[in-house]
């Protein structure tokens, strides 16, 4: 077992760093085919009638914005473009600044009015219990909105929302871990049988295959899912082209780094077995 490579790990760090930076400078893009989970996510939103209310829960923080922010932006575009009303909540304290910034940027493009077309309720502490209470009744979970700190009855959108997910036809969560999609599946999907869509980080993606299609209408898995989704949204929304191209370029860097890591595993193992044989 004592067949340590004896190589200082910082050499590998150095190669890795140089690889990523030089690929970034080269910056080319690659188109990706779309998988069925992403297609289903996109189609589910497209199928919603105008004026429907969707609850969009931002359950992430800066540590996962690399994967989730592009999906979040794309989803907001798709929802607003289709004239769907959006009720924003969050169970992670660091997410509401993203919600505020994205709606500040995107909502004016579709001439949306705050309070009528979208509402930001902000962070709700309590993890599972927060989700339980948001489901039980949005009105008792929040006393004021997050943007203007107004009482909820001054916001017209909330008039169409009632207890037990009443009036809400779909829940979308951008989920980075606990609490996130798995807890929403229990508290919203399990209890109220609300249809759920989600975009998640790579670490959580494999878990979701167990829930699709019976408990999950579709999902965007990791940076690859985000890129595919932006391609779909980009067909009709020019504003996401910039973001789409950037993600496609990242996928090419990602490709090379993956090949590099597979090579590292292969070479490491060859050295290991050669070393073991010569030792024996």
């Amino acid at each position: 077992m004592a067949s340590a490579t004896g190589l200082d790990r910082r050499w590998i760090f150095l190669v890795m760093g140089v690889l990523v930076v030089s690929l970034y400078v080269l910056g080319e893009a690659a188109e990706m085919p779309v998988n069925e989970y992403v297609q289903s996510y996109y189609d589910t939103i497209e199928a919603l009638p105008e004026g429907t209310i969707v609850m969009l829960s931002a359950d992430f923080d800066p540590a996962s914005m690399a994967e989730l922010l592009p999906m979040y932006q794309g989803t907001i575009h798709q929802l607003l473009r289709n004239n769907i009303r959006v009720l924003n909540v969050s169970t992670w304290p660091a997410a509401p600044p993203y919600t505020r910034a994205e709606f500040d940027r995107i909502a004016p493009q579709y001439e949306k009015v705050y309070g009528v077309d979208w509402v930001e309720l902000g962070f709700k502490p309590g993890d599972d219990v927060a989700m339980g209470q948001i489901g039980q009744s949005v009105r008792s979970a929040y006393a004021k909105d997050d943007r203007n700190l107004k009482p909820l009855n001054e916001l017209p959108l909330l008039n169409d929302v009632s207890a037990g997910f009443g009036g809400i036809s779909l829940l979308i969560t951008m989920s980075a871990g606990y609490p996130g999609i798995l807890e929403w599946i229990a508290q919203a999907g399990g209890r109220y049988e609300v249809p759920i869509l989600t975009g998640t980080t790579a670490v959580q993606t494999p878990d979701l295959y167990a829930y699709y299609p019976s408990q999950l209408e579709g999902f965007l898995g990791a940076a690859t899912g985000a890129t595919q989704y932006l391609q779909l949204v980009g067909e009709q929304t020019e504003d996401v082209h910039e973001s789409r191209d950037r993600n496609q370029a990242r996928m090419l860097i990602q490709s090379w780094v993956h090949i590099f890591i597979v090579l590292l595993i292969v070479v490491g193992n060859v050295l290991y077995f050669v070393g073991k044989r010569s030792a024996a």
């Binding site: 037990g164 690859t224 890591i261």
Partner: protein, 213 residues
């Protein structure tokens, strides 16, 4: 009585919420809603208590001449400075009011956000190094794992799929949708049964270890 009342409270709250899950009856929903509200309030108070702990430990390290004492002082400075700005904003003290663009967001965007994002990206380097130095196909299990991992890595990205002639993505699809899904289902069921066991013991007042501290 020191233990009996808390256990009684746990059982009452637990049963009320369990009952409300099965019963849409109005009053039971109202009780459920109120109890959940208490839960979120207490959760927040407990979080703030945790900060007291952080401050206490840091102060102790500063006063005992710990090698990191200057960093701990920086931590406290940042903590209280930021809290000061934020609380003034929330309550409108010193003429600082909360508007569309918050002052605390300035600090959030420039300090918290880049730092947290970068901390986690360090792991990319550690994975590369472990791939070369430690991931060994020393058993049937480890071999299966590494091969499946390699298929997923190559099948997910455009170039990786090209160099395998499109095989990687097909294998990926099958592995993820059927074999991975099967394994995940088993893990989910196991975890749910664990939650069920602990939950039952707590709701029925049999589990008391949380009262011992």
């Amino acid at each position: 009585m020191k233990r009996e009342i808390p256990i009684l409270l746990t059982v009452l709250c637990g049963l009320a919420i369990t009952w409300a899950f099965f019963s849409p009856y109005g009053p039971s929903q109202a009780v459920n809603d109120e109890l959940l509200a208490w839960g979120t309030v207490l959760f927040s108070v407990a979080f703030l208590l945790g900060i007291g702990n952080l401050v206490r430990i840091s102060l102790k390290q500063i006063s005992s001449g710990h090698p990191d004492r200057y960093y701990k002082a920086l931590l406290l400075l940042m903590l209280f400075g930021y809290l000061g700005v934020g609380i003034s904003e929330i309550h409108g003290w010193f003429g600082i009011t909360e508007g569309d663009n918050l002052r605390r967001d300035w600090i959030y965007n420039r300090i918290f956000q880049p730092l947290q994002a970068t901390m986690f990206s360090l792991l990319a380097f550690y994975i590369a190094s472990a791939a070369f130095r430690a991931f060994r196909a020393r058993s049937m299990e480890a071999t299966l794992l590494l091969v499946a991992g390699a298929i997923v890595m190559l099948g997910q990205v455009p170039l990786g799929d090209q160099i395998t002639g499109g095989l990687a993505s097909r294998w990926l699809a099958f592995l993820m949708s059927y074999i991975n899904a099967a394994g995940q289902k088993a893990i989910i069921v196991g975890a749910a049964l664990g939650t069920l066991a602990t939950g039952l013991r707590i709701v029925l007042g049999l589990e008391r270890s949380y009262l011992s501290e």
